[in-house]
């Protein structure tokens, strides 16, 4: 299964829905989409991870690139609905501090506003 990325907006925050898997075969697309949002002017991102089933190191690398871009631009990011398996990968690779995680959309929105 590939990754499907959807975009939505609420209260000035870009809500990016991730559904599926990010791996070596599609991490570039994933990175381009998110970097594109930042370059397009988005500074507050909430990633909806409720359907985000799988991430490999290629996806982790892409997330680090996105986090750096956003930090340089003075933006904020938060994740919500992260499943335990994906959370474990982000934990092992030291991303928990870089990507704060919240239970639900409301909490994530509040954190980046």
């Amino acid at each position: 299964m590939d990754i499907t990325i959807t975009e939505d907006r609420r209260d000035g925050v870009a809500i990016v829905g991730l559904r599926g898997r990010v791996h070596g075969g599609n991490a570039d697309t994933f990175e381009e989409r998110l970097v594109g949002l930042i370059e397009g002017g988005e500074r507050r991102l909430a990633l909806d991870c409720t359907g985000f089933d799988y991430v490999s190191s290629a996806g982790v690398r892409a997330m680090i690139v996105v986090a750096k871009k956003l930090k340089d631009a003075g933006g904020k990011i938060a994740l919500f609905g992260v499943n335990q398996n994906v959370r474990d990968v982000l934990d092992i690779t030291g991303l928990l501090d870089i990507f704060p995680m919240y239970e639900d959309e409301d909490a994530a929105l509040k954190a980046v506003r």
Binding site: G24, S56, S57, A58, V65, V89, G94
Partner: protein, 136 residues
């Protein structure tokens, strides 16, 4: 179970589906299946992306076996000699600006498996891995 793959990332789906059905037949936990997926994805991606200097088709052989309370994985390829265990671990404690993006795949493999061993046998790289099926 043996999976024979060409050195092409398009084979990834077949690899992951194969591991998933095998893991389910063996009654492995969803977490264990997720971790095996990830480990094989990382190893196979490394071989395909960095292992070969030519554009020829090569074969990567993956064997996955259950042995009592262990899952044993063996990956054999004819890529150039490369011992992934010699790579230093990435430094995860540094601030975001200084984070390097390389070396995370092998690091994940080492963290998720209980044993990882590399040998060079008859012109082939052989990576042997073990992970206990119990909770970690």
């Amino acid at each position: 179970m043996r999976i024979e793959l060409k050195n092409d990332l398009k084979e990834m789906g077949r690899l992951l589906d194969g591991v998933e059905s095998w893991g389910q037949e063996q009654g492995l936990s969803p977490k264990m299946i997720f971790d095996l997926h990830l480990v094989l994805d990382e190893i196979f991606t490394n071989i395909v992306n960095y292992g070969y200097d030519d554009a020829a088709e090569h074969q990567v052989l993956i064997d996955v076996e259950r042995e009592a309370d262990d899952v044993r994985v063996r990956v054999e390829d004819d890529a150039r000699a490369f011992n992934p265990l010699e790579r230093p671990d990435p430094d995860l404690g540094v601030p975001l600006e200084e984070r390097k993006v390389g070396g995370l795949g092998i690091y994940l493999v080492r963290q998720l498996m209980d044993e990882v061993e590399y040998t060079r046998e008859g012109g082939k790289n052989v990576l042997s891995l073990r992970r206990g099926t119990g909770p970690r």
